[in-house]
């Protein structure tokens, strides 16, 4: 139920968009991602877009103040 899926936005008209995933199309409500653009990859849950997927490289890390860099390093090392 908390399942959310990445969907590519292929049409947008106001708060309503059309998304595509694996050849299937679905209507997406965009009111919580107002700056969504056609071409964006969105994370969609029960028909509502909740977040935009950023390219892996462009995403910064976060975490408790002061340890975010450490964190990215951990990730970087482990992925090698």
């Amino acid at each position: 139920m908390c399942h959310a899926i990445p969907v590519k936005l292929i049409e947008k008209s106001g708060d309503i968009g059309v998304g595509e995933r694996g050849g299937l199309r679905m209507e997406i409500n965009l009111s919580l991602i107002p700056d969504a653009r056609v071409g964006d990859e969105l994370i969609v849950h029960v028909g509502i877009a909740l977040a935009k997927l950023e390219g892996e490289s462009s995403a910064g890390n976060s975490g408790s103040a002061g340890n975010s860099n450490e964190d990215s390093e951990v990730t970087g090392r482990l992925l090698q």
Binding site: C2, N29, I43, G47, E56, L78
Partner: protein
């Protein structure tokens, strides 16, 4: 990655990690990671399965209400259809005009327009991930001046549930818990999709209080492997706090639009009863007074009666992370996804359902 995990875990004699989300439990099993993890690592499956934590008396009250109001249709997410209530009855057995299954709450708008002669009661369940969809629906109902849709708001909050599970390892309030502080998780894999809405700072107090790292993770097997590796590294370094593995989607601040919409439409209940975790203060949401015209609790008289669960079902202890599905004598015997005896077998996020897949995989290989 497995090699990296093995190397990292060498320094530990044992590590207990709780994944909060049922979606993570499912991904751990589906990806095979659960079976491949180094043996020192013990995964404790958390209560993050919305259908599993909902006590069945809510469903029973809705089913009773449907019996009293022939023009009423309950609208539900699919996972609720097969949850057993009194006498093993489920929503799936009700007449089709009484129950509609939806994927998105937005479908209710069309239903309500096409059937002005009927009233619709939406059973709005789920964690913070799902609550914004209910709020978006409410805004749209008001904009369209819809009068025949009512929302039974049963959304629940993640931080109090995480806290309750952690506390229960010190002996819960009801004294029934088997866990001891020594069994308590040393790290948590936090909820990726909940955090898309809430942001990650709501878990900070917990990380500090229990002096643990909480790593918010995505839902691919590779995300979870990375989250586990991050945890091992953080434990080695003695670091506590909240960390973000799911950086491709999760911004630390969450979705501000969703947060302000929730604040506009909902209010925190003073307490709420959870399956397995008992009554938790400030752990669930209700519609606020501004939205009472759509509030099913105001519009209908919901009568609650107790719904005893199967006496051998271990769902409660499983949701507290203190038992595993295969500790239940009914697992994969009397209780199967085709005829579930408890909620943890119904939903794909339920631990019993996930474990059954594992059993089936193992039988195939």
């Amino acid at each position: 990655m497995n090699e990296a995990l093995r190397t990292l875990s060498k320094g530990f004699s044992s590590v207990r990690i709780m994944e909060f989300c049922g979606g993570h439990t499912h991904a751990l099993v589906r990806s095979g990671l659960l079976s491949l993890l180094p043996k020192q690592l013990r995964m404790i499956h958390g209560p993050g399965c919305p259908v599993c934590v909902l006590p069945p008396h809510h469903l029973q009250a809705v089913m009773d209400l449907l019996g009293e109001h022939p023009s009423l249709t309950a609208v539900v997410y699919g996972d609720l259809m097969r949850i057993p209530t009194l006498g093993g009855q489920t929503l799936a057995q009700m007449p089709p005009s009484s129950v509609k299954m939806i994927y998105s709450p937005m479908e209710i708008l069309k239903l309500a327009e096409e059937h002005p002669e009927r009233q619709f009661l939406f059973l709005a369940i789920g964690f913070e991930t799902t609550a914004p969809a209910t709020a978006v629906l409410l805004k749209e109902l008001r904009r369209r001046n819809t009068k025949n849709v009512f929302v039974l708001c049963l959304h629940v909050l993640t931080p109090p549930a995480v806290q309750a599970v952690m506390d229960s390892f010190c002996g819960g309030a009801d004294g029934t818990d088997l866990g001891s502080p020594g069994d308590r998780p040393e790290a948590i894999i936090g909820p990726g999709h909940v955090s898309l809405v809430t942001g990650i700072s709501c878990f900070e107090a917990m990380a500090q209080r229990f002096k643990i790292p909480i790593v918010i993770s995505g839902f691919e097997g590779s995300d979870l492997a990375e989250a586990v590796a991050m945890i091992l590294r953080l434990l080695q370094q003695g670091q506590t706090g909240v960390f973000n593995q799911y950086t491709r989607a999760l911004r630390p601040e969450g979705n501000r639009q969703a947060q302000s919409l929730l604040a506009e439409v909902m209010t925190v209940r003073s307490s709420f009863v959870w399956r397995g975790l008992g009554e938790l203060p400030r752990s669930a949401l209700a519609l606020n007074a501004e939205w009472s015209e759509f509030d099913a609790e105001k519009r209908f008289e919901l009568k609650y009666r107790s719904v005893p669960e199967h006496p051998l079902c271990q769902c409660g202890a499983i949701l507290r992370g203190q038992k595993r599905p295969d500790d239940c004598r009914l697992f994969n015997k009397a209780c199967l996804p085709t005829r579930p005896l408890g909620a943890c077998m119904v939903s794909s996020e339920g631990a019993c359902h996930a474990y059954l897949q594992r059993v089936e995989e193992e039988a195939r290989t």
